[in-house]
């Protein structure tokens, strides 16, 4: 018998546009395929409904990864939000999505009614999405699943800028993205990446911060080698 796994679609790791038939199900029998974002089953075929790169996670998970400036909240994403308003029960946080998100005042490690954190408008927060669907406002939390703080919370100092969602994913991918690796060899800085297309950078000297943020912004469309070359160029100009 041939391998039970369905043959991978020829489109994997390639770009697809809406309407492309990604898999033909008529040949496969008795196999389960899991579909993620951007794919839809039409009778016997699987078609893409959004444009982007088709990804496959063995054995049988497919999804389409696209990069946009707007963010669609989904659960378990770590995002960077800006506090817009405070209510008795929640902070209203802007995460670049269609709605404002709620961050309950108690969703902090060891949070009780007595030690509610005081965030003024414009505070930058690193949080995790707990509830997200298209109709309601998403909900955030500054604790991880076990209840620990785990780096969530307010980010102080530093500088924040916007990128596309694809760029954020690239920055968070492992092995480390080439531009971060090249920058990290020479400079020391701290960085927090939100999957909603926001990046925060901090370093002791302002010109390091400026250099890092410009390098990241410019590396979006460059390949790995070009990214390293660009970083070298920038570093040489500084020194």
């Amino acid at each position: 018998m041939e391998s039970r796994r369905p043959p991978p679609s020829p489109f994997v790791e390639n770009y697809v546009v809406p309407g492309d038939v990604v898999l033909d199900l008529s040949e496969m029998t008795n196999q389960t395929i899991k579909l993620g974002a951007g794919l839809r089953q039409e009778c016997d075929t699987i078609q893409a409904t959004s444009s982007g790169k088709l990804r496959l996670s063995k054995p049988n998970k497919y999804w389409v990864e696209s990069s946009q400036k707007r963010y669609t909240p989904s659960v378990e994403d770590t995002v960077l939000g800006i506090v817009v308003d405070t209510k008795p029960d929640n902070f209203l946080v802007d995460i670049k999505g269609p709605n404002l998100a709620f961050l309950p005042v108690l969703a902090f490690e060891g949070g009780t009614r007595r030690n509610i954190p005081k965030f003024e408008i414009g505070t930058l927060i690193y949080a995790r999405v707990v509830k997200a669907n298209s109709i309601m406002n998403p909900e955030l939390s500054c604790m991880d699943a076990t209840g620990k703080a785990a780096e969530f919370g307010q980010l102080k100092d530093g500088y924040m800028f916007d990128t596309s969602t694809g760029m954020s994913r690239m920055l968070l991918s492992s092995p480390t993205c080439p531009v971060l690796e090249a920058l990290g060899k020479k400079l020391s800085f701290e960085i927090a990446v939100g999957l909603n297309g926001r990046v925060w950078v901090n370093a002791p000297a302002p010109n390091t911060v400026i250099l890092v943020s410009n390098a990241i912004i410019r590396s979006e469309s460059l390949s790995g080698i070009k990214q390293r070359a660009m970083v070298e160029n920038l570093l040489q100009k500084l020194t």
């Binding site: 100092d157 302002p206 400026i210």
Partner: protein, 391 residues
């Protein structure tokens, strides 16, 4: 409530950081305090349209004109009106009002000659209308809108009209195909230069970006032309600034204004050249190959940039191919002038005909065995320049 949600707010971190960086003379995008962002002017599809890109800010301008009755107190002058439109794709929450300043400055200055727009005194004058569309708000809309409007006005051509008819009062507007439309008379180009102030007026930067604008304490726009005349200064609210700082800003602004004026002029010139080229090409289609073309076309375009018309000669001796565009470069970016256009079209020539050391000289272009008509068309202008035989 939803407008508030949509408006982007700077975080506390950014505000502090931008100010701190400016204390050490660093701008977030790596520019110097008095550097403009890259300016790109695209003139292209029609006369009187332009698109300007200043860093991330994009503005498009469109000029139209129509005959109207003049104002009673100015029966000899036409009018110039500027309208601005904001689309939500430029900025999610646009508040009307501030780019209107640039509209006011441009209109109030006497840059465009109004009396030449008069057709019949007291009855009919041309009313020129400039529509500015903001496509992307990346900061400093006033400067970008100003440059777009100037570029569009420089390339705008209004239809020629004569007064005639039975009673001598009827105005006949000529079709552009019949008589060439004429350009507007522009006396000078007022260029707006915007400064942003931070930290109690100590720190000044030029051409603020979107984030710098959100964090700045005050803003001043100085409108200067290349002669050094200050046309307007506008400072609406914000922090107070010392007069010494203002004088320094004006000096810097005059330098920058000269720079930008030359960029606009270059872009407009190369655009005009392109258009003239296309006009010359139109004729040979109806003219048989052997006959040398009449000089009619030459007289109309009495300006000096015709040496670049050699490109038309380079196409092979096929009448059909002559009418195809030599160089599809409709875009005239501010850094290029007509020269690269010549090179690229000669490169094209190389592929179609036997290779020759094309270096933009008209002789070599003419050696491709092009029809006599085109060569003769070019000859009158080039006799003085090219002494060697064109054969």
């Amino acid at each position: 409530m939803s407008m508030d949600q949509l408006r982007w707010r700077p975080t506390v971190n950014e505000r502090d950081f931008i100010e701190r960086a400016l204390q050490s003379d660093l701008r977030v995008d790596g520019r110097n305090s008095f550097d403009f962002r890259t300016l790109k002017i695209t003139l292209g599809r029609e006369d009187g349209t332009s698109e300007v890109q200043l860093g991330e800010t994009r503005v498009m301008a469109y000029v139209t004109a129509q005959l109207v009755q003049p104002y009673r107190d100015r029966p000899n002058e036409g009018t110039l009106a500027i309208f601005t439109e904001f689309s939500p794709m430029a900025d999610p929450a646009f508040e009307a009002g501030h780019p209107g300043e640039s509209a006011i400055e441009l209109g109030r200055s006497r840059a465009v000659d109004m009396e030449s727009l008069c057709v019949v005194a007291g009855k009919q004058v041309w009313s020129v209308r400039v529509d500015l569309h903001i496509l992307d708000n990346g900061g400093n809309l006033i400067d970008a809108a100003n440059i777009a409007a100037l570029a569009a006005l420089s390339t705008f051509r209004r239809p020629e009209c004569t007064v005639g008819g039975d009673d001598g009062q009827q105005v006949i507007v000529h079709d552009p195909e019949v008589r060439d439309p004429i350009p507007l008379t522009i006396h000078h180009m007022p260029i707006a230069v915007t400064f942003a102030y931070f930290g109690e007026g100590n720190i000044v930067v030029l051409d603020p970006t979107y984030k710098e604008e959100a964090v700045m304490g005050g803003r001043m726009t100085a409108t200067i032309n290349s002669n050094g005349d200050v046309c307007a200064i506008q400072k609406a609210g914000g922090e107070g600034v010392m007069s010494g700082v203002i004088m320094q800003c004006l000096r810097i602004a005059s330098v920058k204004a000269a720079d930008i004026t030359s960029k606009i002029k270059k872009a407009v010139d190369s655009y005009t050249t392109e258009k003239d080229l296309k006009k010359v090409k139109r004729l040979p289609v109806s003219v048989p190959q052997k006959i040398h073309v009449t000089d009619v076309t030459m007289e109309n375009k009495g300006d000096g940039e015709l040496e670049t018309q050699t490109q038309t000669a380079k196409t092979p001796s096929n009448v059909q191919q002559i009418s195809k565009d030599p160089a599809p470069m409709v875009e005239a970016s501010s850094e290029e002038d007509a020269q690269p256009v010549t090179d690229s079209s000669n490169a094209e020539a190389k592929s179609t005909s036997n290779p020759h050391g094309a270096n933009g000289e008209s002789d070599e272009a003419q050696e491709i065995g092009s029809p006599k008509s085109l060569k003769d068309a070019i000859k009158p202008k080039h006799k003085r320049k090219k002494k060697s035989g064109r054969s």
